[in-house]
């Protein structure tokens, strides 16, 4: 009774606020409910939400360029894009490509960039093969000067700067980090090598190249660093370091391991380092500015390139532009997918409505028999049904044979009904028809026959009674069936693949092609994301126009 007079929150009998004690009372119930749906929830998260999120991410993800060619990307940042980049860029490219070739990652990058510019794939493949030869020149020259350069132990001691030397841990961990990104794994443990702080100041390129070699040898090849002869790239790096007059000056005061040998090498004549010439010699395409532009354009970790590609556009030096007319395929494919899905939906409505109506108005036993006939296709394999249509519709098939036999069609001009849009629409209408009939049937079942009787008693003819009274009430069923069929159709893959030929395929077939054949997953993901967005927009539009509350799958 006091509850009616007090002003604050309503209290339970023990004085706690009623809301809190209600929450506590319901908590166990909620937890039990959550536990019941947990398996499904986890399944949906793992098998549905996560893949969609991954797809959305993949459609803009472009880290491969930055991960594989980090130094090149860095050097290209200030490049104005007018002529072939300078020596510095090619030197960065040499070290990046050398490591990538060792890790066998350069071909992946080549394939990735080949989506944007054909020819890049072979460019990376040939030059990845040649980087060893480019570096070998310097290895030979240095070994000539002092055979110690051929010894693994000598290099190890020289680069670690002796047992007591101060180490440059930062350089090593940077290189390990770079390798981790490239190999997409995490390395843990000791490399058993630390570049000396002093030597890495004097020979920065060499120290970097040796550090990444050491990390690679230890983690990837799982060999002992001190027993392995360094890569050709390390010799090239030394040659670059020794070119610098400042290096000679610094070496003069250095007394770490191999200091004498280094001083001798610095004084000896080495072949000049001209990476630009070496790369162009390896593949003439390196002097094509367009190729470099592609590398620069796709160097950021995220890109709109896949999406632009998916809507028939491309990035050019002048900005975003439509592709040339003969390269536009996705716009047509999207249009065709939409058009054919609509055709399939309409033919399902036309064929399904009378069936659903009869089923809803027959006595239960006959309706059940009809229901079995409607569900029968579900018991047959999708492939079998689709293949059956192939048999039916082909030019030497059942329907053509019958038409020729009846004399309706001349033997020479048999109808082409398969491997085109017609074949896809026929086969998919057949396959998706149950999805239209079932929601329509369950809605029609709830419309009492007394409405039609009432309409007739009020003076309406059979047609008027149907059209003005029955049909509007069955619209929710049509809506539910249409959404179901349309959304299933727009993403259908297997049937258009089998009976669609070239003119009857859907966007999903193109997506599948990019997933399994061209391996351009980014583009496939972008196309998939657009498809998802189209479906969501249509759903939203349907909700605005018809109202999703009007969709009934039953009851």
């Amino acid at each position: 009774m006091s509850d009616t007079t007090q002003t604050g929150p309503v209290l339970a009998a023990d004085g706690t606020p009623l809301k809190r004690s209600l929450r506590r009372a319901l908590r166990a119930q909620k937890m039990r409910a959550l536990a019941l749906i947990a398996p499904l929830l986890i399944f949906v998260l793992v098998a549905f939400i996560a893949p969609i999120a991954d797809m959305l991410f993949r459609s803009v993800e472009n880290q491969i360029v930055g991960n594989t060619l980090p130094m090149t990307v860095e050097e290209l940042r200030d490049w104005d894009g007018t002529e072939v980049p300078d020596e510095q860029v090619f030197r960065a490219l040499f070290f990046d490509l050398f490591l990538a070739a060792e890790a066998k990652e350069h071909t992946k990058l080549g394939s990735r960039l080949n989506y944007e510019q054909s020819g890049i794939s072979s460019l990376f493949r040939t030059s990845g093969r040649d980087v060893g030869d480019i570096g070998e020149v310097f290895q030979d020259a240095l070994t000539e000067i002092d055979p110690a350069f051929d010894e693994a132990r000598f290099w190890y001691d020289m680069m670690s700067g002796g047992a007591e030397a101060e180490g440059n841990e930062r350089l090593l961990s940077n290189q390990i980090g770079r390798l981790e990104v490239l190999e997409a794994t995490n390395f843990s443990g000791d490399v058993d090598f630390v570049p000396g702080a002093a030597i890495s100041d004097i020979l920065p390129n060499t120290a970097r190249a040796y550090a990444v070699f050491a990390a690679f040898t230890h983690f990837v090849d799982e060999d002992v660093v001190a027993e392995e002869e360094p890569w050709e790239a390390v010799y090239a790096a030394l040659a670059i370091d020794l070119e610098d007059p400042a290096t000679r000056a610094a070496l003069a005061g250095y007394d770490g391991p191999g200091a004498d040998v280094l001083r001798r090498a610095a004084d000896a004549p080495l072949p000049p380092v001209d990476m630009k010439a070496a790369f162009i010699d390896s593949n003439k395409d390196w002097q094509r500015v367009g190729f470099w532009k592609v590398i620069k354009t796709y160097s950021p970790p995220y890109t709109t390139g896949y999406f632009l590609n998916a809507v028939d556009m491309e990035k050019t030096a002048e900005g975003i532009a439509l592709r040339s007319a003969d390269q536009r395929i996705y716009g047509i494919l999207f249009q065709r997918t939409m058009f054919m899905s609509l055709m399939i939906t309409f033919s399902c409505i036309l064929l399904g409505y009378p069936v659903a109506w009869i089923m809803a108005n027959l006595p239960a036993r006959k309706a059940n028999l009809l229901m079995i006939l409607v569900l029968l296709p579900f018991w047959t394999s999708l492939l079998v049904r689709t293949s059956a249509w192939k048999v039916m519709l082909q030019q030497q098939g059942v329907i053509n044979d019958t038409l020729v036999w009846l004399g309706l069609v001349a033997n020479e001009s048999r109808l082409v009904m398969i491997n085109n849009q017609f074949g896809t629409i026929v086969a998919m209408t057949h396959i998706l028809l149950p999805f239209m009939i079932l929601p329509m049937y369950s809605v029609m079942q709830t419309i009492p026959p007394s409405y039609l009787r009432a309409a007739k008693s009020l003076g309406a003819t059979n047609w008027t009674a149907f059209w003005r009274v029955y049909f509007p009430q069955s619209v929710p069923g049509i809506g539910a069936g249409s959404i179901l069929v349309f959304i299933l159709a727009i993403g259908y893959y297997i049937t258009p693949e089998i009976v669609g030929g070239t003119t009857g395929t859907f966007i999903s077939n193109r997506i599948a092609y990019h997933i399994s054949t061209s391996l351009n997953w980014g583009l496939a993901a972008a196309l998939g994301s657009i498809l998802l967005a189209v479906v969501l927009i249509l759903y939203w539009a349907y909700d605005k126009i018809v109202g999703i509350d009007n969709v009934k799958l039953g009851g």
């Binding site: 009492p448 009787r453 009432a454 007739k456 008693s457 003076g459 003819t461 009674a465 009430q473």
Partner: protein
């Protein structure tokens, strides 16, 4: 049982039979005529054929045999929408996707009546059922009683001469039902429409109708005005179906001066009015209304037969007392007495004598 052959009949069923499966007759040889303006109720238990009769009249079912005439013309082959009969359905059947005004406008539209005429008629019909302000609403926004009124207005808006109602008040609560009963009869008589009303609620049938046709087993058992039906049931089915009734089985001992003396199965003798017993020795079911039983023997005619009874239960029901007695070997004998200041309240266990005026007790056919 039913009246036949009348040239003034507005509605006539002539030897109508109906079978759904070709094996059993749902309606057996139905003959019925209705004058214009009559309010006739078809009353009967479910499965008695009353709704089938209504559906045949509306045109939703075809008669297997016989003829149905409307205003002297056979309508057997006229489709429902051309019969011009208004109908109110059990669950109203208001079109859910139309507003109330659109629902009412529908029969006028299909009759191609002009817009202004239509609007006037719809307004008038809604006002007639006191639903004037509801034209813009949808049926789902109305209460059961309101939907009922709209259904009625829709059946009347195109001014049919005959209106059929199929248990229209079944879904309403008791109070609303009683109010609507009154309103429907009032409206029907005011507008002078001929009404066929189907119900299984006998109170409804008695309060509303000019005449009631009691259906059972595909046949009309009795067709009569309510008072006659109640007070003079023609057979044991009608007696038991209409109102509360005490029955006892026995054998006719003698019939003389329009009075039958019946020997009950336990030996007691009782006076009754012979209705469909003919001679001594016939088995009979005697029927007496609870409110006509007298336990104050001073009020009985001298020499009347009485029965001994023991009070089993006394139930106070407000306006009346309902007392259950043990009589003649049965313990379900009910008497009803008015709650008047001088009325005696019987105590359980009390021994009394009961009797009645012979004309209140009817000796009917044994079932």
């Amino acid at each position: 049982m039913a009246d036949t052959g009348n040239n003034d009949a507005f509605v006539a069923f002539e030897r109508v039979q109906k079978s759904y499966d070709g094996e059993t007759l749902v309606v057996k040889d139905l003959n019925l005529t209705m004058p214009k303006g009559e309010f006739l109720t078809m009353l009967g238990p479910s499965g008695s054929g009353k709704t089938t009769c209504l559906m045949m009249l509306a045109g939703f079912e075809t008669a297997t045999h016989g003829e149905i005439k409307l205003d002297g013309v056979s309508i057997n082959n006229i489709p429902p929408h051309k019969r011009g009969i208004g109908m109110v359905f059990q669950n109203y059947a208001l079109f859910p996707h139309m507003t109330i005004a659109e629902n009412l406008s529908f029969p006028l539209e299909v009759r191609k009546i002009g817009r202004s005429d239509r609007e006037a008629k719809v307004r008038r019909a809604l006002e007639m059922v006191e639903m004037g302000g509801f034209g813009g609403r949808r049926p789902a926004q109305l209460s059961g009683g309101q939907q009922q009124r709209v259904a009625l207005a829709r059946a009347l808006v195109f001014e049919p001469e005959l209106v059929l109602m199929d248990e229209p008040l079944g879904a309403l609560d008791k109070q609303l039902r009683e109010k609507m009963q009154f309103e429907i009869t009032h409206l029907a008589h005011e507008l002078g429409i001929t009404t066929v009303y189907v119900t299984h609620d006998q109170t409804e049938a008695l309060t509303m109708s000019d005449r009631v046709a009691v259906f059972n087993d595909g046949k009309i058992q009795q067709i009569a005005p309510p008072d006659e039906l109640y007070e003079s049931p023609q057979n044991s089915f009608v007696a038991q179906f209409i109102g509360e009734n005490n029955t006892m089985e026995g054998t006719v001992k003698e019939i003389k001066d329009g009075l039958a003396v019946v020997q009950l199965d336990d030996g007691g003798l009782i006076d009754a009015k012979p209705v469909n017993v003919e001679k001594a020795g016939d088995r009979t079911l005697i029927s007496i209304r609870p409110e006509r039983v007298e336990f104050n023997c001073d009020r009985l005619r001298p020499g009347a037969h009485t029965l001994k009874a023991e009070v089993a239960e006394f139930i106070y029901m407000g306006d009346i007392f309902r007392t259950r007695l043990k009589v003649a070997g049965r313990d379900d004998f009910i008497i009803k007495t008015r709650n008047a200041p001088d009325q005696r309240r019987l105590q359980p266990g009390e021994q009394i004598e009961i009797g009645w005026l012979p004309e209140d007790c009817r000796a009917l056919d044994a079932p």
